[in-house]
């Protein structure tokens, strides 16, 4: 067999390949899909803005954190002195 015959045989086999019977339906479905009206550049800008916003929020929230002042509660063991009211006023020490 000559090279040309092999090439023709190969091409004939490829030509026999049949496309999906629903190819036309698939193509028409794709054509009828509503177009995405937002230009690509705006989509990229939106993604970049979202990432920047998240980073900024992280920084702001991080900076706004201040540790709560420690609430000292003293116990007066000297009964002759007035009872320490801070014991009753301070929250969370009940």
């Amino acid at each position: 067999m000559k090279a040309e015959d092999y090439i023709n045989e190969y091409i004939d086999r490829e030509k026999q390949t049949e496309h999906n019977p629903y190819l036309a339906t698939r193509i028409m479905a794709k054509i009828e899909l509503p177009k995405n009206k937002i230009p690509r550049i705006f989509r990229y800008a939106a993604v970049a803005a979202s990432i920047s916003l998240v980073i900024m929020m992280g920084i702001v929230i991080g900076n706004s954190y201040t540790s709560l002042p420690k609430q000292y509660a003293g116990i007066n063991i000297n009964d002759s002195e007035m009872e320490n009211f801070t014991l009753y006023n301070s929250d969370g020490n009940e």
Binding site: Y6, Y10, L23, I27
Partner: protein, 175 residues
Amino acid sequence: MKGDHSKFELFVVKYQTMVFRTAMGFVHNKEDAEDLTQDVFISAFQSIASFQGNSEFSTWLYRITVNTSINHLNRNKHSAFLQFAGDLLQNFFSKESGDKNPHQQLEQSERDTAIRKAIDSLPEKQRTAFVLSKYDDLTQKEIAAIMQSTEGSVEQLLQRAKTNLQKKLISVVGK
């Protein structure tokens, strides 16, 4: 708009096989050829207003198919190796060669890969003329109309493609 869609669907049904076959000549893979066919018809639908009827609709569609296929190949040059590896395996395990023994199957698989590689390595114009001639059985006149060239230059391109293929395949299949 809806009317346009239903008219265009008739075109799709009529020309899908033609576009698919041409795309197969460029990509040698059913799935890729179907994707290309879809891209071709979407491009055609979007630019149908620019079709002035100076040439036949099929000639215009062939031009879009060739351009889309070549663009696809240029975009996916880097994945050619993976495609070859996949195709090699697909050829080797394909059921079509059921009446052949493993040695013959391997031989055919190697030969197919070599032929595909040889076709793919042809210069762009030779490849286009070759695909349109062999896969679509178009005459030199029709190919010249699609390639916006002369019959003489198409004849030359086909002759050079044939010589190049024979040179490239001499080590695999002989003369």
